[in-house]
């Protein structure tokens, strides 16, 4: 080993050690962060907060199927009891009127602070008379049962006013006391977790608790049924024979992220094992040398380590998806050692310049991903660049030192000769390639409309079946689809609550006009101090109220003496402390407030979810123009957030960004080739097969009915980046020594790449599958077209043609 070689090996060993340490201590994530923008705008920040931590992100939708309705209801009730006693859950709703008494008591005791109808006019003689008359009318109505008991303390109907204010939620129908889907086939529950949606560990624990509660509830219900059965009654016997046992279905953002994490983990592990194994087998079969195999994997492993370490350093956390992409690196970096082993038997001086240029084109291609706002892509870019550079450097400077003086690998000349002969036989007229190009272009042109999938969900690792289940449970449960929000932000809680109250009138108007069907507001549960104080100040002193009430009751069938409790309550309310968040503790109102009112130290936000009319989507522009006319106060602003629309806009901005970046990457590669090859004609010869391969793959995908996502686009960029290696070898074949050996090494390298990406193509994670199914065929076609476009293989007849005849 030379002195330089020793140095290189030592440096390599040290770097591997450092990288290993970084990799071991790196943070790995699988949450949404790969899809969320790195440097968000204000609206995007809100969106990101909502997606990561908002109410919607904390909901777990539960469906109980199987058994009969009564049994499902009992299971639901038993689960409800268990989950309500679990601190992991903020709220558990299954249609049981649990906690309603406490809620009612709180509302009743604070009715004069909470009711929007409380104002000075309400307590004048006329105002009192009007509202009492209305209550009397209500007594005549079927609702009298509910009103009668309230009359002495609340003759002006403030409690009902509050219930009206709050009770506009659409709830699922109830069967046997449990929420039930409209088709009556499943019992429904909604739980809200304390853990944020982005806290995958917390979500996983909560989901585990739900599953355990279900198992325990099923056992309890079955036990009760069996007990009734042995007791001699028909209890358990009434259950129809052949009914499927009760089963549990879960959905919601947390459920998805937990499942996605499991999928990604499992997939990344399995894919790396499978593709490593396949490539090892391939190499072993080719080299017939275990030693060569191990040596050949050294650059690959070094590259993977370097890639992960670089991402960990550059991004603070490595996303699981990035590791998935890493599988692709195995396929590409193994090429270098293949070239080295097979072609080193010739003059290496021509080998390295070609490899160098190949690495450079790959780097330029991947570098175009670095500035992407889509963190997943930027990580992929950094990972691949550092991985490839490391692999190439290790192959160039370290691996030769480790090679034994005489590495015995199988002589691949016959294979190369065979390949050359095969290519020679299928030598097609160039017209055919031109025809392929034209056909592909036509296919792409005619399908240009639906070619791109405009929705981010196309990238989601959540399966279509799970998405359908989610949509079904969501529509059954009715309420919590937080698709449209008015978000108010201001310096403190009081300011945003005031703004929410100011906006309420405007939003009521929009309800009347049918623009929205309704809205929620934290100010309904917790009015601003200003509003509470104003209401309190509008309560008259005892003597005045008595006088006004006396006048108001003139001619009405109720006497003042009956309403002493009312006089007493109003007087008490005049001196009542204002309602704060603390008073709400332990009621469902606290849940409402906490979900809709956020404080992050410096700023507060109030969320006002809007309900869309049943038939049409909300016209965001109209809502926006209506609320922008309202004066909200110092440093307070309100925006309308269309969550799904915003997410899709985000995605399409990624998409157009990736189109730009890919074109830039392509241009960069062409420029690089121009600089190194110094001949537009040679550049054309290198680039033409690559473009042809990209066109063909894109056309095939489109013709197969696939909608392309940005990952397909990235895949196309990779075809160019990887395929350029092959094209360059063909371009330089005149100086590259043995044509059969070059061909054999290219064939082997290509097979390794196709294997690596091909395995990825079978992933159930759409991102990985998209990339794999694009690059694997693309890389193969790139080699094939490069070979076919090369003039001929008879440049050195002595080498190629001779043995082929044998």
């Amino acid at each position: 080993m030379t002195r330089a070689g020793v140095m290189a090996t030592v440096v390599w060993g040290a770097l591997v050690l450092i990288a290993l340490i970084i990799v071991i201590f790196a943070r790995y994530t699988t949450d949404l962060s790969a899809f969320l923008p790195r440097s968000p705008t204000a609206t995007q920040r809100l969106l990101v907060d909502q997606l990561r931590e908002g109410i919607a992100s904390r909901l777990i939708l539960i469906g109980i199927e199987g058994a009969d309705p009564a049994e499902r209801a009992r299971i639901s009730s038993s689960m409800g009891k268990r989950l309500r006693s679990d601190a992991q859950f903020v709220s558990v709703n299954n249609g049981e009127p649990v906690g309603l008494d406490r809620d009612r008591e709180l509302l009743f005791n604070h009715r004069y602070l909470l009711s929007e109808a409380v104002n000075p006019a309400h307590f004048t003689a006329t105002g009192l008379r009007e509202s009492i008359q209305e209550t009397l009318d209500l007594l005549a109505s079927p609702a009298s049962m509910l009103v009668k008991t309230l009359l002495p303390r609340d003759p002006t109907g403030q409690m009902l006013q509050i219930i009206d204010q709050l009770g506009n939620e659409r709830q699922p129908p109830t069967v046997d006391g449990a929420w039930t889907s409209r088709d009556g086939k499943r019992a429904l529950m909604v739980v809200q977790t304390r853990a944020a949606g982005s806290d995958t560990d917390g979500q996983e624990r909560a989901i585990g608790a739900v599953r355990r509660a279900f198992v325990a509830a099923v056992a309890e219900v079955a036990g009760a049924g069996a007990a009734a059965g042995t007791g001699g009654t028909a209890g358990a016997g009434t259950r129809t024979v052949g009914l499927p046992p009760a089963s549990l279905e879960l959905s919601g953002p947390g459920v998805f992220s937990v499942a996605a994490r499991a999928t990604i983990k499992q997939q990344v592990t399995r894919l790396s094992i499978v593709s490593t194994a396949l490539i090892c087998l391939l190499l072993l079969w080719v080299y017939r040398s275990f030693r060569a195999l191990v040596l050949g994997l050294i650059p690959v492993a070094s590259g993977a380590l370097a890639g992960i370490a670089a991402v960990a350093l550059g991004f603070g956390a490595v996303h699981g998806i990035t590791l998935g992409f890493g599988v692709t690196l195995i396929g590409e970096s193994v090429d270098y050692s293949i070239y080295l082993f097979i072609q080193s038997q010739q003059r290496t001086s021509t080998l390295w310049p070609t490899i160098r240029l190949g690495v450079l084109t790959s780097i330029v291609g991947f570098a175009s991903l670095l500035p992407s706002a889509f963190p997943g892509l930027a990580q992929l870019g950094l990972f691949s660049i550092s991985g490839l550079v490391a692999a190439a450097l290790v192959t160039r400077y370290v691996l030769p030192n480790l090679l034994p003086p005489k590495l015995h690998i199988r002589d691949l000349t016959p294979v190369g000769v065979g390949l050359a002969a095969a290519l020679q036989r299928m030598k097609t007229p160039r017209a055919l390639l031109v025809a392929i190009a034209i056909l592909a272009a036509i296919a792409l042109y005619t399908h240009r409309g639906p070619v791109w999938n405009p929705e981010l969900s196309a990238l989601s690792p959540v399966s279509k079946a799970d998405q359908a289940l989610d949509a079904m449970l969501r529509s059954d449960i009715g309420a919590p689809d937080v698709s449209y929000l008015v978000v108010i932000s201001g310096p403190n809680q009081e300011s945003v609550l005031r703004a929410a109250e100011a906006l309420a009138h405007t939003l009521d108007d929009l309800v009347d006009k049918g623009v929205i069907a309704g809205f929620e507001s934290p100010a309904r549960y917790l009015p601003s101090k200003a509003a509470q104080r104003a209401r309190q100040e509008s309560l008259p002193v005892a003597a005045d109220l008595r006088g006004n009430l006396g006048k108001a009751l003139d001619g009405l069938p109720i006497r003042l003496e009956r309403l002493e409790p009312f006089l007493h309550d109003v007087e008490a309310a005049r001196n009542q402390p204002l309602l704060t968040r603390n008073e709400l503790e332990g009621t469902s109102l606290a849940t409402g407030v906490d979900a809709l009112l956020l404080n992050d130290g410096a700023r507060s936000s109030a969320l006002l979810p809007l309900r869309a009319p049943t038939t049409v989507a909300i016209d965001v522009g109209r809502v926006h123009s209506a609320i922008s006319k309202v004066a909200l106060g110092e440093a307070v602003e309100a925006v309308v957030l269309d969550v799904k629309g915003e997410v899709d806009r985000l995605y399409s901005s990624y998409l157009s960004e990736v189109v730009r970046l890919s074109l830039a990457g392509f241009a960069g590669i062409v420029l690089l080739l121009l600089i190194f090859l110094r001949s537009p004609l040679r550049v054309l010869r290198v680039v033409a097969p690559l473009v042809l391969a990209v066109l063909s793959v894109a056309a095939c995908l489109v013709l197969m009915g696939r909608q392309l996502t940005l990952l397909h686009l990235i895949g196309m960029l990779l075809i160019v980046a990887v395929g350029s290696n092959y094209a360059l070898f063909f371009d330089r074949r005149s100086q590259a020594g043995s044509v059969p050996l070059t061909l054999a090494s290219l064939g082997l390298a290509n097979a390794a790449t196709v294997l690596g990406f091909g395995v990825l193509g079978f992933s159930s994670v759409p991102i990985l599958a998209a990339l794999g199914s694009t690059v694997a065929p693309g890389a193969f076609l790139a080699l094939l077209f490069s070979a076919l476009l090369t003039n001929d293989f008879r440049a050195r007849p002595g080498c190629a043609a001779g043995p082929a005849a044998a």
Partner: protein, 191 residues
């Protein structure tokens, strides 16, 4: 008939002196009521509430479609509608719309079930909720319903339903606190 008669006699002998009418009369009334599949009549309802010096009065129309749809359309003092269908109450009052599941409001149930089951001639349903007594005969009868459930009995003491053959004239609900309501059924509303 003889068997039914002897059953009657037997019942009286075993100590049911309140059972003035024969059990078979109840069946006869019920089956007559069950024949009517549709009804549309006017009503006047007076509520006597202890807190109020005079009863509150409302009036409107009642619509019935067998077996379980009942609509109470109040026109005075203000218009509102209450539809009870398959155990779900939907109420419309002014601009507001409420939907309740009867099972969630057990205190409302006897009010509804007494009228609905009587109109439907569904004796079994009536007897699930009430102890049912019949006074009078087929041509002029009074059903007295008392809730079986002691919790219900704390709100509703008894319900009197008066009628002749297959027509109901009056529904009186007596609440445990002494308040009562009197629903008088008037003429058929011409279709």
């Amino acid at each position: 008939m003889t068997r039914a008669l002897s059953l009657c006699v037997l019942l009286m002998l075993v100590g049911a002196p309140w059972a003035l009418a024969c059990d078979s009369d109840l069946d006869r009334i019920m089956s007559a009521l069950a024949q009517r599949k549709h009804g549309h009549v006017t009503f006047v309802e007076k509520k006597f509430i202890a807190m109020l010096d005079r009863p509150v009065e409302s009036s409107g129309e009642l619509l019935y479609d067998a077996p379980d749809r009942l609509e109470k359309k109040t026109l005075k003092p203000r218009s509102e509608s209450l539809v009870i269908e398959s155990g779900v109450i939907s109420a419309q009052r002014g601009r507001r719309h409420y939907v309740l599941d009867v099972k969630q409001y057990p205190q409302v149930m006897p009010f509804i079930e007494s009228i609905r089951a009587t109109l439907a001639g569904d004796r079994a349903a009536l007897e699930r909720v009430f102890k049912v007594e019949l006074a009078g005969n087929f041509d002029e009868w009074t059903l007295v319903l008392r809730p079986l459930d002691s919790k219900l009995a704390r709100t509703v003491k008894e319900i009197h339903i008066e009628g002749e053959t297959d027509l109901i004239h009056l529904v009186e609900i007596r609440e445990a606190d002494g308040d009562r309501s009197l629903l008088t059924i008037g003429a058929d509303v011409p279709q």
